[in-house]
Amino acid sequence: MKVIKIDKKHWAGGIEKSRSAYRLFGPVMVENKDFSEFKELDAGEMPDMKATDTRTSPKSICFPPEEVMLEYSTDEACDDCNLMKVPEKNYSPRAAIGIRPYDAAAYLVVKKNFDTPEYRDPYWCDAYEACTFIGLAVNHPSRLDFSTSTNSGPFDESGLDVLLVDMGDHYFAKVITEKGDAYLKAAGWEKSAGKDAEQQIKDLKTQAEKAIQSTVSFDRIKEKSIMDLHGAEFWNDIAFSCINCGTCTYVCPTCWCFDIQDETRGKTGVRIKAWDSCMYPLFTIHTTGHNPRETKVQRVRQRFMHKLKYYMDKYQEGIMCVGCGRCIRSCPVNIDIRRVCQVMNG
């Protein structure tokens, strides 16, 4: 395993250089706000490597809040009248700079849904395959970070192509895949870090994992039957304060649900994929007007059952949550997935 040393003096230059081969995405502080967002960087714009967790997650790099899937025209003067066409898409190489290791791990969760043997969501998969994940290890985990409980962690490499570790005046860049290697070369960072770099990274990793204060357990959820959990008494109490705003699912890196919408203007139109949330009544309403998840309690239960039970049973790979803590921070009424997990596990 190769480790490259990037002197911070060479950071901006390398980022700049890589732009000729990559579209860059990174965290940027939102104007006049106290939080950052992951976005495509404008020319000359640098990723803010000091930014803490972005408010919404970097899932948007491959799964934007809205995306045109198809476009059409009903104008008979056009050759392709009444045909649905995929618009021009840009799947040239892109790189996510400074993504959190657990946010990258969330891509592997989402991949299970968008890339299956039966179905392949071309929009997500093409974007994902075009993307190189240059992660930044979290040296100082937040109090809400429980990623070590979820098969991930502050130094988790599973979703990454490169793991950057902030060493003060330089970064160590641990090369994890060939894709990652190619990005570092494109940025012109090729200086080997020397023998003890791996050990230093390991030590920091141990330190960061130790600094994590927040944990969840779900060992017993696994053994419980879906019907028992589904019918449990505690949902009324858990759901009471929820205002069904959907914030938790919008900020979540692993929530993958979307709606399909047609928008027309005159004789042209587009078919759009747009984020959706199981917290909304519209999510499940039938054309008849019947809604199988009519009440708030049913919707809240769906969110947690999906994340902490259905997913676990279906894929046998733990829970559908990487422990980033975003939903806890952003929920206006303080519904805390750690608490719910504890209740379900009880």
Partner: protein
């Protein structure tokens, strides 16, 4: 305000024991600093879970909509005005409610506390007029008045306007408050400046609808943005649709908004959606002398008309 909790527990316990109510709606301690969670309590044994401090900013009137039980509800000044509005609008009936009134001294804006700390906050301890912010390796004390929610800083109805039991003597109302300085600033802008101001205000919006759902006024069975047959508003972040949502929602709150601040508090993107509702509140006051939710006995300004209205459109 910290001293209220004993009285709140005592009243709640009594109401439950005497079976005057089926449940109490109040707050329990949250899992994050400065976050309490709305909760219900059905038995005496659980009354101990209730808390009260300056982190109870969520408007509890929102939790009363269409409920069928007899309810004891804890109400600050603004909650009480939204309860009045709820009763007038037939969302709950007066005789279902035992209103436990809390004279309020304002709620803390956690974002201001985070800004004052400049780093991750581990704990916040409230004293009577001060807030002690604790973080890794230190603490900092700020005046509570410096970290109040914007709406609380200019609140002139801190005492409940309606209640069955009060947990304490009324607090003094703030005098000489200029409630509309910010609205006047926007009113003075040129159309282009206004446009930019609102465009910038709404730019971070992700259309999660936390603002709407935190608001007790937004109880429609199906909100116009959720209608699908026909669909009035697009679902994407197209600025036209985002604007449409915000403008229409604000108008639906005209003459009803109590400036409780729940909407702003709930927004994950830190958007001051009160910028819309306050203008309407100011208009309702200046044009009709109307303040929402002050009395059960007066019909709201927008559901009455006078035959001798000076405007011609009504005739």
């Amino acid at each position: 305000m910290l001293a209220y909790i004993d009285k709140i527990k005592e009243i709640s316990d009594r109401l439950l024991q005497e079976k005057k109510v089926d449940l109490i709606i109040g707050f329990r301690k949250g899992t994050l600093p400065m976050m309490n969670e709305p909760c219900f309590v059905r038995s005496s044994a659980d009354v101990k879970n209730l808390v009260w401090d300056s982190n109870c900013g969520i408007n509890l009137a929102n939790y009363l909509t269409n409920r069928k039980e007899k309810i004891g509800v804890i109400a600050k000044g603004c909650d009480s005005r939204n309860i009045v509005t709820h009763i007038i609008e037939n969302k709950i009936s007066r005789d279902q409610l035992v209103i436990i009134g809390v004279p309020c001294k304002g709620m803390i804006d956690r974002r201001k506390v985070y800004a004052a700390a400049g780093q991750e906050v581990t704990e916040v301890v409230e004293q009577s007029d001060a807030i002690v912010i604790q973080f890794a390796g230190g603490e900092k004390t700020v005046k509570k008045t410096d970290v109040l929610q914007d709406n609380c800083a200019i609140c002139i109805h801190r005492n409940p306007v309606i209640s069955d039991e009060m947990v304490a003597e009324p607090v003094e109302e703030q005098k000489g408050v200029d409630r509309y300085e910010d609205v006047r600033r926007v009113e003075a802008m040129s159309p282009a400046e206004k446009w930019n101001y609102f465009e910038e205000l709404l730019a971070p919006c992700i259309r999660c609808y936390a603002c709407r759902n935190a608001c007790p006024l937004c109880y429609c069975p199906t909100c116009f943005v959720d209608e699908s047959k026909p669909q009035w508003v697009g679902k994407t972040l197209d600025p036209i649709d985002t604007r449409t949502f915000h403008f229409l929602r604000a108008y639906h709150c005209a003459g009803r908004c109590t400036d409780c601040g729940s909407c702003v508090r709930a927004c994950p993107m830190g958007i001051d959606v009160r910028a819309f509702t306050k203008k309407l509140e100011k208009d309702a006051l200046e044009l009709f002398g109307w303040e929402a939710g002050m009395s059960l006995d007066v019909r709201p300004t927008l559901d009455t008309f006078k035959p001798d209205d000076p405007n011609t459109f009504i005739k």
